[in-house]
């Protein structure tokens, strides 16, 4: 049951990254890709009906994590106190900038909000990547399963670490570039922006290089990953999805059809995230000092009753939610 909930939470987070990823990526790019008001309006128009719903996946995943693994929620949220608060501030700035920009028809007003929107979107992507990096690297958990990390120490992943070290920064930059690519592909599909696809083609090389770099670093820093792949070789399917999808993006970028590269990019993100989840399983937050203090799905899960009853409402609820999304995306299908 714990493993099932681990998979469900991981799936929700992955869906969140794929969905909010495109609007975050497109948001970070829109200053650069939309050179005039018309271009920017087109980009923002392609994400305006969706961004709020996409963000709900994070809230729903957070809520699900909270009731299924309360000890993990408690430990990680208090330990990552500072970066999470900064993430909240960025979310607030981002949310108001996209909603408020169109209220006043003044170029200055719009310039302010567009800049805030692009900046907060980009920074959020770096923070999400860094957060994932922290989870994979592990944190200095004590015997009570608690920790507190400063934002940075000496920027190395060994010894007393901070949130930001060269490994987590690398993952953060990787996340930024992968989701900029994702956003550019979304814009290529949903808008007539002439610069989106050429930019995606260039970003692809950066993402490919960063994939190689973070993979090598991950194997060096988190031994659990190699261990899991050795003991359960079927797990190679996850990195295979990631690499296959990455190649598919390249292939389909050369074709005129524009939905496929975007879908391939979604496949790449899903592959990377499931690889990470598989790599650290059964840990949900490993310890980088004393391995025995690591948080696993077993020692953080709620009671069996809570998990069972949760399934009874979670499944119909998510089916409804999926229904709304399909309906909504169809309704706005001709938006661009």
């Amino acid at each position: 049951m714990e493993t099932l909930w681990f998979m469900l939470v991981a799936l929700m987070l992955a869906i969140y990254v794929v969905l909010d990823g495109f609007d975050l990526g497109a948001g970070a790019l829109h200053l650069f890709l939309g050179r005039d008001e018309e271009g920017r309006k087109q980009i923002l128009g392609s994400i305006l009906p969706f961004w709020d719903g996409n963000e709900v996946w994070l809230l729903a995943a957070g809520g699900t994590l909270y009731f299924a693994f309360p000890a993990l929620y408690a430990s990680s949220f208090s330990g990552f106190y500072l970066p999470l608060m900064i993430v909240l501030w960025l979310f607030i700035l981002r949310g108001i900038s996209i909603e408020f920009r169109n209220h006043i028809d003044s170029p200055l007003w719009k310039q302010v909000w567009d800049t805030v929107f692009a900046g907060s979107s980009g920074l959020l992507l770096v923070f999400f990547g860094a957060a994932l990096g922290n989870v994979v690297r592990g944190v200095p958990l004590d015997t009570a399963g608690e920790f507190f990390l400063p934002l940075w120490t000496d920027f190395t992943p060994n010894g007393p670490t901070g949130i930001l070290d060269y490994y987590t920064i690398a993952v953060g930059v990787h996340a930024l570039c992968a989701l900029l690519l994702h956003g550019a592909l979304w814009l290529g599909y949903r808008t007539r922006n002439p610069r989106a696809i050429p930019l995606a083609a260039r970003l692809w090389w950066v993402v490919a290089a960063l994939t190689a770099l973070t993979t090598v670093l991950t194997f060096a820093i988190q031994p659990q990953v190699a261990h899991n792949l050795e003991s359960k070789p079927w797990g190679f399917v996850f990195p295979a999805i990631a690499i296959g999808s990455l190649l598919a993006i390249r292939y389909w970028l050369g074709k005129p059809e524009r939905l496929r590269p975007f879908l391939a990019s979604a496949g790449y993100l899903l592959g990377m995230l499931t690889s990470a989840a598989f790599g650290i399983y059964p840990y949900v937050l490993p310890s980088n000092e004393n391995l025995a203090n690591g948080l696993t799905i077993q020692n953080t899960a709620a009671s069996g009753y809570g998990l069972t009853v949760g399934l009874a409402w979670w499944i119909p609820g998510m089916m409804l939610a999926t229904g709304y999304f399909v309906f909504l995306y169809r309704r706005f299908a001709k938006a661009a």
């Binding site: 709020d52 809230l59 009731f67 309360p70 408690a74 208090s78 608060m85 939610a321 709304y324 909504l328």
Partner: protein
Amino acid sequence: MDSALTLHRLHFAFTITFHYIFPQLTMGLALLIVILKTMALRSGNQHYNDAARFWARIFAINFALGVVTGIPMEFQFGTNWSRFSKAAGGVIGQTLALEGVYSFFLESSFLGLFLYGEKRLSPKAHWAAVFLVFLGSWLSGFFIIATDAWMQHPVGYTIAPDGSIQLSSFWALLTNPWVGWQYLHNMIGSVVTASVVMASTGAFYLLQHKHAGFGRTFLRQGVIAGAIASILMIFPTGDGQGKNIAHYQPATLAAMEGLFQTEQGAPIAILGQPDVPNRRLDNPLLVPRALSFLTYQRWEAEVKGLNEFPEKDWPDNIGLLYFSYHIMVGLGTIFIAVLTFAAWLLGRGRLYESRPLLWTLMFLFPFPYIATTFGWMTAELGRQPWLIHGLMRTSEGASATVSAGNTLFTLLGFLGLYAILGILFLFLVWREVEHGPGEAQSH
């Protein structure tokens, strides 16, 4: 008091008070917009659609701020209250996740259709989108109240050997005897806020001789809905809520009423200042025996005073609790007086010309916000010193690893950011009100 704990409490209190400025309007306003859309659908009169569109713009600003200030609430359970979350997340995580899965998806999906989809949808389909947003927001309110109700009166749990609190009955969690009245009291309070804001806007237009047609519609709907809702606030919902407090939290009731000594035929204090060290109420203006009667329907019934309870179980800020409760009830009484009088004049066809009452209504709009805020302060200060009533003290729930300095840093960050949000909010809402119904602005 430990300074880190004080800062964690201030952090939550400030962010949730600011947050609730927005949902308390949008939940009630969603209902009023559904009514406007229904009238448009049934009468075929475009006037009501135009009116609904105006309120949809106000709704959108409030909703956006409600969303962005709401996310920090869910986060803070983990960041600032991790020991509470670790112990009780298996229970309250259920209701919070239910909110995400059942109401946020619904609200956010159909909000887009409600705000941007009117031209793409048939009138009936657009009505349905508005209705689903209303349904989502009222469901959301239910799950949050169920969460708070469990902290006020925990049910359906067992305590595991490791001290964590585990859910044992999902049904009990959702049908907590505390939920019903608190939910209705809260939601109808939200209708009072939205109605008064609508009536106030209508009065503003009539006094200005601008958008007079819309002014009359807003005034009529706001006054009728507000008069009904403000009466329902006191009876039966406020009354039911009070009886729950008397039954489950008798020390809280005594502190709210400033009743230090147990009395048979206990009075209600209309005015007076609690003198906690000397255990008495200064300058009291009392209605004899009223508290006994309202609580137990017997004029001579015994109501327990604070002296019956050990001081360590007293709410830790009796003065503020007492005043919060009295401000809430006092304002609620004023709303009933003003709104029923306005409804009576409306019935006699004289409301639109009655300038003193229009002025009164115009200036009434901040007061439901004040009453709601003090109502919530009554509920949450009344829960003290418990985080989960009878199970976990507030002092045991805060994050152990987050130091006072870090909390102060983020509290100041929120203060600054929310100051900017507050200014922007007032500015944008004022522009919409000034511009008035009719042609939409740039979007």
